[in-house]
Symmetry: D5
Subunit: 131 residues, 10 copies
């Protein structure tokens, strides 16, 4: 396999330190929350150019709900971070799950076109399929 991405680029930003996602105690059971962030931006680790997109987080809270102000600060930290689209979405999912341990969660991103090509990435987590 000849690839246009180096290994270093492929893992760029995956473990970079980011602000904490905070939570507040959930008061009800069995419902769903969807959060849309239409102004997400990060940096392509290969070209150094900015990427833009809409990130959507959906989850069913268990004991905790995501606090929106801290979530915003967390997402703003991607602004100057070099990381691929695909890794952005998977990392946000991992961090959301770690913060609020939801019944389930789903993160997706719709990224604006580059070279006439646009991308959507979607990842999902289920508490019950965790070991």
């Amino acid at each position: 396999m000849s690839t246009g991405y180096t290994d270093k680029e492929a893992i760029a930003g995956i473990d970079a330190p980011l602000p904490e996602i905070e939570c507040w105690p959930n008061q009800f059971k069995g419902y769903e929350i969807e959060i849309e962030i239409p102004e997400f931006t990060s940096v392509c680790p290969k070209t150094g150019l900015p990427d833009f997109g809409t990130v959507t987080i959906r989850y069913q809270p268990d004991q905790l709900c995501l606090e929106l102000k801290a979530l915003k600060t967390y997402l703003l930290a991607y602004r100057n971070l070099g990381i691929f689209y695909e890794n952005v979405i998977n990392r946000i999912l991992k961090d959301v799950v770690a913060a609020c341990n939801p019944v389930w969660a789903e993160v997706s991103g719709q990224f604006t076109p580059r070279g006439g090509i646009s991308s959507r990435v979607k990842a999902r987590y289920n508490q019950s399929s965790k070991e």
Copy 2:
């Protein structure tokens, strides 16, 4: 867990007295009603600023149908009430179920952006899964 919301804010408005949701005797069986209120507004208990959104109530009536004029009065009472989005939707569901005991009911809210982030909350009730 460090949280940006105090416990008092997290439960604000959950038990505040609100006008009664009235009903009228249903005449048919096995159908579904959807009610959309695009002008819902309440107050954020943290910042004191107004929140805006569209609330949608769907349900299958059993013996009673929701009376729309009284429902409107009930919803207007949120106008100066401090309560979080997530709690608004869960409380409306609880109050609708208590008023008309439907076969099932679902309440959702699509709230307008704050800080570039918009939210949707959806909660559901089933008569048959009630003990």
Copy 3:
């Protein structure tokens, strides 16, 4: 239960005489027809004010198809009839089923806002679940 509707209002129009829904002999099996009437109007039995909405009829014909010209005359007869939304949809379903005995039928109505609140009502019939 205190209700804003009298019993008389709750059943208004349910048994009013209306023009006959006519049919013609169906020539094929196992297909579906959807009819949309965006200019439906009736009268609120409580306020005397007109209601407006879009009524949609979907069904799988058995031996008979609904004749559209007669159906239009039938629906025009609601123009000065006092009857609630919820009852409009259930009555149309009952009359359609009586006229053409379909394999299944579904009637829904999307009514325009009153007091900032819009409604959708949907009712369904299955030949096989009829005794």
Copy 4:
């Protein structure tokens, strides 16, 4: 049953001769094709007035694919043919199936309003449920 349509009108156009639907040898397995014809027009056998609509054909090819140029000629032949909506859709399905013997096929038509009423008709065929 008193009906506004004569028997002759009810079957008009069902067996009229039409141009052949041609095919070409399919090269792949297990995929789906959708063809949309937004400029379909035929004639109402009762009033003699033209009907207009969008016809959509979806199918999974088996050994043969529909040839689009011949299909267009076939559909143009409805231009001066007296035939009801419901029969148009069922006849196209029958002719498509006879021409290319697909794994499955579905034909639907969305017809423009007449007297404030618009119609959609949808019919479906499955190779496996054929005897």
Copy 5:
């Protein structure tokens, strides 16, 4: 069967040499990627006229992700290639699967109207149903 397409036209472009689709090592499990190319163009092998359409590739990566820059070069190579719509979509699917061996993949194309007729073609692959 009389057909408007010759055998040569029916297989045109199916085996033409095209640039390699490159990949990079996937870092996460169990998520989905969708890539949209609204500027796809190829040539009709019968008329020599260009076809235009939007091609969409969806897949769940296994060990490898599609590299977008190489994918773009691969798709640009269809610009002067004579090949039918139906074959375009099936070939792209075959080449994508060969390049990155995904858990599943789906390729679809929405082609702009010719003679008042537009087409959509959709093909799908599942790793688990491969022998």
Copy 6:
């Protein structure tokens, strides 16, 4: 000229008594008001069938503003009145001008299709060109 309308039909409804359009004292100078009524309905004097449309009233108030509740009652009175589209719009303009004597006024109506044909009618008045 052979015409499909009788003289009586051509003037139907032009002088029928209607509820009064009321006003309230305007507090400011030199601004513009636009009122949209998407649920207008009247009756065709020829066929007896209902017409539907959206009526829009724009005007610059002088001493008086139109009172919306009375305006609604006025417009509801067209519901069972036989009158042509063209005359509806001109009569509303005449009645609005008589009621509030505006600096200028414009009334337009967008009527839903009949026989595949939709209509828009627009009439205008200027205080300064009145003698």
Copy 7:
């Protein structure tokens, strides 16, 4: 100039006999009427294939208004008439002016794509600039 159209094609349909456009006596002064016909169809004199489009007629009536039912019959007569787009619009304008002698009139047509190219044609008449 080498041209793809013969002289006979260029004037096809310009003088073909068509049904009369009828009128009724106008009751008001100084207003405007717009009529939209989204289901216009005629035939290309070169290829014999049908053309489709939306025709819009705007005019300020003088003594006479266009009668819509007769106008519809007039427009239906183009269904099997061979005539170019450009000539369709100019002929309709000429016939409308001859029928009702308006203060001004404008006819436009938006025709659906052929070979990836769509056309709009617009012609205008003013009573005052007529000699």
Copy 8:
């Protein structure tokens, strides 16, 4: 003139004290700013029910620009103020002009339907026509 509004209602809210609109020193000449507030709400002085609408402020700054945070606080103060639509727009214009003395300014409001009727109000100021 019999009117449904009392004089007291007609002037309600026109002189109520509101928070100050603040400004900052403009740095450029000859350009235009448009500010849209889609979440405006006030109270009807007659019914006590809330009104909702979108308010738009356009102006050409002279020495001062409107400060958005203070403007928001100013507009939030209408939330529990009884005042008619028409007066809302004219008062905002008057207050904006007093605060920043622009070259010109225009304020408009699009208010959501009440009783099936929606309203738009637009007022305009020019520095040069001020004496």
Copy 9:
């Protein structure tokens, strides 16, 4: 001035030979024609990558009308031609004017995004301002 384009690139394609634009004799006076080509594509002379866009031609014919089939052939010839956006539009205008000598003509192009930037170019010719 340091520029990213060479002189050779700046004039690329301006004088390349292209197929003739043919015409047919116009039959009417004083009207306007608009032709939209949503599938235009050419090649960037700098990068060699394809550009895509919608080209619109508007003109008032004098003695001649553009023949659409030849116009299509002319436009297809840009498919493999290296030429900048800005020059494409100006050259089409020049060639259209040379072919049919219109009273006036306007050509515009809306090109799809490259690097997150989209472009529109519009050029205009008037017969009367020609010397």
Copy 10:
């Protein structure tokens, strides 16, 4: 005047060094170019939070055209620059005019909502009114 902005904030970013806007020699006269950048982002000098918007540049070139690749680099430099909306648009206009000395130019920005309020700023330059 009490203002929420300090003088330092009011002029922030107005004179910050930015990459050069490059040009290429224009080949035609009297036409117009519009460039849309939907992914513009800068930083609020007061809060330090990012602003997002769509910037549109329209101009009539004289001797020079804007080179798009360099323009993109210039605009990317606002990403971490603290500067108000109003100043962004005026500065881009000033820099564009300095770079290519156009016959006229217009720059506008549509910025996404903050606190429920969105802004549009538009500035314009004319060569002929320059001294």
